[in-house]
Symmetry: C3
Subunit: 247 residues, 3 copies
Amino acid sequence: MFKAIVGASTLQDALDSVSVLVDECKIRLNEGELAIRAVDPANVGMVDLALDTAAFESYTADDGVIGVNLSKLEDFIGMASGDQLVELELDEETRKLNIQMDGLSSTLALIDPDSIRQEPDIPDLDLAAEIMLEGAQLDRGIKAADMVSDHVRLRVASDTEAYHIEAEGDTDDVDFRLDTDDLIALTAGEADSLFSLDYLKDMNKAIPKDAEVTIELGQEFPVKVHYGIAEGYGEITYMLAPRIQSD
Amino acid sequence: MFKAIVGASTLQDALDSVSVLVDECKIRLNEGELAIRAVDPANVGMVDLALDTAAFESYTADDGVIGVNLSKLEDFIGMASGDQLVELELDEETRKLNIQMDGLSSTLALIDPDSIRQEPDIPDLDLAAEIMLEGAQLDRGIKAADMVSDHVRLRVASDTEAYHIEAEGDTDDVDFRLDTDDLIALTAGEADSLFSLDYLKDMNKAIPKDAEVTIELGQEFPVKVHYGIAEGYGEITYMLAPRIQSD
Amino acid sequence: MFKAIVGASTLQDALDSVSVLVDECKIRLNEGELAIRAVDPANVGMVDLALDTAAFESYTADDGVIGVNLSKLEDFIGMASGDQLVELELDEETRKLNIQMDGLSSTLALIDPDSIRQEPDIPDLDLAAEIMLEGAQLDRGIKAADMVSDHVRLRVASDTEAYHIEAEGDTDDVDFRLDTDDLIALTAGEADSLFSLDYLKDMNKAIPKDAEVTIELGQEFPVKVHYGIAEGYGEITYMLAPRIQSD
C-alpha cells in the first residue's frame, strides 16, 4: 500500500528532474523514501532521485513499485498551486493512482512496471575534482557553450584552480571560467571531459537557479551532477557519459 | 443613425464574448441597448449579449442592424488602452463604421447583415439547478477536465449539495467538486448533462476570472452560463447543447 | 589594432539598429568613432550608425574595417546583462574578435569585408518637413497602419500643422494624426510620401519607445528617420526609399 501527502512544488521539482530524461519511469515506494532511477533510451544520461519521507507531510508505504507516465502525472500535480498539499493514494486493485487536492480528485492509470526500461546501476566512480557552484552559474556556462557548439568541455585547471565550461565551434569559441571566488567550493584535480550539450541542457532545465550544485569530474570520465531539493530531504544525481575527445 | 462613446475595455469584453464563437455577427443598434445574438456554424453554442446604454458615455441610435467582422473590429478597438474612450459612428451612406480614439481615426467596412448566419432564438428553458461561482473556479474545473477528455460532465449531487465538473478519459478521470462553501450560491436540483469541452473552453476564454458566473443546469439539457460585464450594465448569456451520454 | 570597453546595452542598441535591415555588415573602426553603414538587399532601406568614442569606457583603434555576422555578435553580447562591461579586442593575426565579459571569453570569427555588400552612399537630401516625436507615437501609428495595409503614407498637413500616419486598405482605412501638441517639434512643409510598411516596421523594432525621433519628410521623396542612443554619443539614421503613389 501507498498513501502520502506532500507539497505540490516538492513533488514537481522531483518529477521535473526525471522527466527531462525519460517519458515513463518506475517509482519505488519504499518504507524510508520514494525513489526513482532512470536512464535515457540512448543510455547516455541517468538520473537517481531519492525523496526522504521527511519531505512529506505524511507517508506510508510498504515496498512496492509503480510505473507512471511522467507528463500526465505532472499535468495532474500542476493543477495545484505551489504550496498546496497533494494527497497520493495507490489503489492496488485497479492499479490506479488517486490524486487529491483542494476540491479536485483525479485518477491516473498506472503503467505496468515491467514494460518500462530497466533501472540503471549508477556506477560508483572516484572522480578527481569536485566543483560546487550555483545553478545560475552552470546555466550561464551552458547557454554560452550553446551559442557555438553542440558539445561542451568541462575542465578544472589545476594550476589556476579555475573551473572552465568551454565550447569549440567550427569558427567560434567560448570559455566560461569560474575562479574559486565565483565558486562555492572547489577540490581541484585532474579533470577534463567532453559531453553532449543536449543532455546537459535537459538536466539544466530541471536544476533550480538557486540550487547549490555539486559537479564531480574526472579525466575523460562520466560526470556526476547533484543537488538537493525539499530543504535537503531530497537529493537528485545526474550522471552523464563522456564523448570521446577527438584532439 | 448610430453614434456612441464607450470605454475601450467595456467594448472589448463585450466583443470577446461573441468572437470566441463566431467570426462575423450582426450588431443590433437599438434605442435602449446594443445587442448581439449569434450561434456557431455547428449550431451547438449560442451567445446573447446585451449592453445597456448606461454602459456607454453617450449613446444615440435608432433601431438598426450592422454586420461586422469581429476580429477586425477588435483589432481596431485594441489600439486603445483600457480606460480610453472610443467613439463609434455609423456612416449610413458608405456603410462604414468610423472609429475614433485619441489621435486615431479608423474606418471599418461593414458586412451586409443578410450575408451573416441568422440570429438564433434563445430557448426559454426551465432548468432545475442553478450554480453561482467565480470565473476562476469554472476555469479550474475546465482545465482539469481538459487533461483527460474532450467531454465534460456538469452535475449537481442533490444529496451532498455539491457541484461537480467531471471528465472521464480512456484511462484517467478527474472530478472537480465544489461544495456550497466554495460556491457563491447553489439551488440544488436534478441536473446532470454532458458537454463538448471545446465549446466550454472557448466560452471560458471570454469569462473574466473574477466574474460572478451563473450556471443553469438540467437533466441532459442545454446549459446556460451567464455573467455580467460593464458594472452590471452588460449581460452575456451562453447556451450550449448537450452531448448524449453514452452510459 | 582595435581594443574597446563598452556597456553591453549601448552595444546592443547600436547593433540592433543595423540587424533589423541586414544579417552581415562592415564595422569601421575609426580613430574617433565606430561606424556602420548598410543597405538591405533590395536597396530600399539604409542605416547609418555612428558611435562616438565617448560612448565607450575606453577605445583605441587605428582606422580599420571588420566584417561581422550580426546575429552571432548579438548573441555573444547578449550573454552580458544590461549595464555589464564588455571588452572587444581584434586579433589581427587570426582575424577573430575576442569578446570578454565577467568570466566569459568568446572568440568570434570575422567575415571578409570584401564579401559583404558595399556600403551605400547616404544621399544628402533637402527635405521640406521635419517632425520630432516620441518613439512610442511612431510605434502606435505604425501598428495602426499595419491593421489595414502593407503601405503607409506619411504626410504633413501644412494648413493644420498636423503630422499624419495613414493607411488605406482594400476596404478599411486608418488615419493617425498628431497635432503640434502631441509632437516634440514640427517644421511644416510640403511633405507627402508613401512607404513600404515592412521596412518601417523593421526600423521601428530597433527604435526605443522613449527615444526622441526626428523624421525628415519630402514630396514623394525618401524619408530620413534619426535618433540618438548612448546618451547622445551615438546617432542612428535610417533612410527609406518611397513607393510610387498610384492615385
